[in-house]
Symmetry: D2
Subunit: 349 residues, 4 copies
């Protein structure tokens, strides 16, 4: 165990943090050396999460950048918006590698962050330095980086589904509409009427229409792929399930294409990447088919009548949409195989 | 009770049939006089549906058109595709009023029916005679009709959400995209892997992309409102809940409009109609807010950035999407107040 | 409408209060004249409960005993523990009829209340005056009462299932074990980790073992039926569903009995009572079979091998376990037919 | 990989079989060499289970005992009742090791099997030879065995919860009552009204009261622990969730004991066993806390008032209740560490 890379997790008592702990438990080259929480410092992590009983006996550490540096080589920040913007620079200055799972470093312009998040943005120097860790797209930059901004859950499902078609010029980016659906764990562990069982069960709701903070993140990288500024329509929905995201996406074809061509294009694009799976023609993925795993599964439906293509892209929001992709990025950063510690089968049913 | 209108329900052992029984129980002017099922004739209806114990003691009648005529004034057909096309003419010829909840008479051209349903269509004379019972839109024709084709669940939510904007010319019909989500009861009571609890729970899936039989029904009435032929993109999804449909719909504005204008347009359009409720600006309905009731609730989100408007329209698929709207049409046909027997509050939570 | 009895609901923004509003909407002789909430006074009730949009346009009134007296003939108290003990006396002194849905007046001895509820009990004079409104058992006393203590949800399912057998001497009360399971709405609308969707979904948990405050309420009336003091084992569980309670109950038979004898005993006991339904031999009720309704459905399983009988009793916790039974008691108090406003079919599926 | 033990799974298209595939994927010493199904032979296993896409590319083999012997060292039988009784002897005669996950070899007397399963029992010689694989209790016998009968899901949760107290003489076995609750995956993947989403969601039901085939299995080993014949009351319930079993169990204490004593007794009893976790006093496990894992978590509540103790024992029915325990037994049989391939953290939330 001595030779394993030591990992600290700030925000260990949130769902993202606790999922990092779950996934890293089986990692061959990394180990969790410090679980950190500002709200419950000093308590055993298992007291708030009994599923960790007798597996993780750690006490939660307080947030102390200097102490973190003494205990860890890499730090995951699984913190609410506005925390990483202050904490990441202090950790980076100590020479630590940092992977930020929050949205604090996903938008390069301070103004955009402040507009969509309603909080002051971080130091512009660090905003520029952060590499966006959509592993399958920006993996080459991740390899050389010390500071990763891990993508949001909705953007991960959305961008992996759209980017190959945009880069190939097969769809008109100006016609993109994203109808996204998430399980409730995406809202975090905070108790509110918005996460109350009796309010959500047997119900479906749309929220933050045209206002969700993942919109500019999606547009940033759609624009990057299109080579020009693109704006999109993005509607998130809350589905009565704990885990899972589906992005159903629509766009006009630039010329007639078949389902077979899309399957071929995507299989080629993601060749060699272990975590994107393309469904055959006429089959679309369900969220349960990736539950608990780092897969992103994608299917297509071309409609000759309308000249549109529909994309269906699913992930587990806590794995590929958060903790799993963060570990995938860790693997790339450290020069390990991309799938180290992540090679397991989705839990079904 | 003697003076109540006598109603027979063919297909009483399906979810649509049993919901008709539930709703008619409280109707002031109609009563269920015969519950009919080809599969379980002779058995007490309560033996397959214990929630009816000691409330409905009827034995199920077999499907016998002559016998139905002797027992009923009005017949509801809550049967699988392909049954009503044969049965409705036999009932109408006896002078009975018929409300068909299946899709058999929703498409006026035989060819279209056969293309989308994969079954032979009914007699063209009856296809033409059937009045499409989207109560708020075609209520005037319903009033004079003896034969109603009750709308599908997805078309009801979709058309009530779209038609006022189309008729007003506020959106470009060619840009309409319909992302629809349904609870599992929409798939009926038949047992299959597609309705298996462990397969659906904690999962979300898209199905029949560009192939769902409600697509031509939606297009027929969107075209009717637009005054020209319109084709649309329609994607249904299955959500882990029993009841509820949400249609999230997207279209380009023909000129800049505000959310306030949409709210005003729709409130004016549906003024005096008891079952459509328009949410205020910035609020969107959840399916639970109409559960068990005949309401269709609608909200809007105009996006100045993209020039698009998003519509969110919800119903209970078994009530406004089936049995409730059928009774609403019965009320209109019989000259009763539109909301007779339907004036109850949604069940929440 | 002038001649309807005017009803005020204190605690209108809780699940019990809002269910009273739903059920009273269809009541032939009573109408809601005032919806009252200490926390949201002045706001429209529909703003926190959009399912009431355009149905209930009332603003919430503040809690003011004198004002209540001016607006209402009967007051329902759907308030947290500790409120009714102070408020009920002030309302009764004005000559109002009061039905308290909280636990404040269910235990006649102050000490017992304080032990199990951890709060000071109300005035002993009122504790004695309150009639326990288990309608099928104590309906005769309810008829003459001005002040009803409406039973708890668990005690309703439990006592209706056990009392006929105890009164008949068929089971040994000292051997009674009650394994009870509730949907989440029983925990109220307050947001906490204990009502968080992601924590409860796909999970089952036991809680408050041997400590639940409904234990002494159950024991009080089991003892009353047995004619001597009885103590029981009571275990509540939280089930991932919104509504419904099942009590599975076990006891030793005092002599050999058959399932048929139990069915017969119970059908005779509840003859003429509209809301208790006894399942035939070999059939047990599911909670969905009473959802949204005031029914209590009961089934039996005698085991000759062990000499025990198992009872399965189900209710909708918000209806027969709260608001519905409160209205049933109102009907009895006012001399109306017992089922007035409650004669509807459970919502299925 | 050459040196890994080769495992064949008969019944690979059931939930138990597919869970074996999931768990064995990460096993350090064993690998799945053949996936076998009588119903879908020749098809890719991933076509019926898309979550396995690009992970398991195997085609399903037909059930052919000789062919199995050529491909495997160990055979797991995850088959419906009545299959293993014929198949296991043919495999054992070839010198293969066999772990049967069905109930065919759990009852040593043919008559008992035929009474509870309603099918002819297997060859009595093999009934006697089969070692009951409740790993924590009969692990020593498992170590020397070639033929394991893997315990049922309900018996696993129940027996692990009860046996230490029975062996210690702390409870009266004649007073044991078992109220058990299971998620729907326990009913298998077969489609029926009994596994239909809309019928089960938002519902709770009891079934097979006093008739469940796991009753004699529980009684066999309770009797074994008590040293005399014991009969019990066992009531299974179906809970609206996919995975998880909870057994809530009741018994009279033989003398006064404290919660602390129970915690101590059980911690001592299971010392060194990696998969049983004892909750501290006043804390009881929820099924979600073991989801996807091989843990059995147990809590206690002693009630001085009644002289009874309540046990709460939870497992994941597909892991510790089926596939996980089968692998645990494989580990013991092969002399590997007991937890090989099973050392992962439950999936939460």
């Amino acid at each position: 165990m001595e030779s394993k890379v030591r990992v600290a997790i700030v925000g260990s008592t949130g769902y993202g943090g606790v999922e990092l702990i779950r996934l890293l438990q089986a990692h061959p080259y990394a180990e969790v050396s410090s679980v950190i929480s500002s709200s419950s410092a000093g308590e055993p992590i298992a007291s708030g999460y009994p599923h960790l009983s007798e597996i993780r006996r750690d006490l939660l550490d307080d947030v102390d950048p200097a102490a973190i540096g003494a205990k860890a080589d890499v730090v995951f920040l699984a913190t609410p918006a506005g925390v990483a913007s202050k904490l990441a620079p202090q950790l980076l200055e100590q020479g630590l590698k940092v992977i930020d799972l929050s949205g604090d470093f996903r938008l390069p312009q301070s103004g955009l962050y402040e507009q969509w998040y309603g909080k002051p943005a971080g130091d512009p120097a660090y905003l520029e330095q952060a590499v966006y860790g959509l592993s399958e797209i920006y993996g080459d930059q991740v390899k050389d980086a010390a500071f990763i901004s891990n993508p949001g859950c909705y953007p991960t499902a959305t961008l992996l589904g759209l980017l190959p078609a945009i880069k190939a010029g097969w769809i008109d980016p100006d016609t993109i509409i994203i109808d996204a659906k998430s399980g409730v764990s995406g809202a975090g562990r905070g108790a509110s009427l918005g996460t109350h069982y009796s309010e959500l069960n047997e119900s479906l709701k749309a929220y933050k229409l045209n206002k969700h903070q993942h919109t500019p993140e999606i547009e940033r990288f759609v624009s990057d792929a299109a080579g020009r500024e693109v704006i999109t329509t993005f509607t998130p929905h809350l589905v009565p399930m704990s885990r899972g995201i589906m992005s159903t996406m629509y766009a006009k074809l630039t010329k007639e294409r078949s389902d077979e061509e899309f399957v071929e294009l995507y299989r080629e694009f993601y060749r060699g990447r272990p975590f994107v799976r393309i469904r055959p023609v006429g089959v679309w993925p369900a969220t349960k088919e990736v539950s608990g795993s780092n897969y992103c599964d994608i299917g297509f439906a071309v409609d000759k009548r309308t000249g549109r293509v529909t994309f269906v892209s699913v992930i587990d929001n806590l794995v590929k949409g958060a903790a799993g992709q963060a570990i995938q990025n860790l693997n790339l950063m450290m020069g390990w195989e991309e799938s180290a510690g992540l090679q397991f089968i989705p839990m079904y049913p």
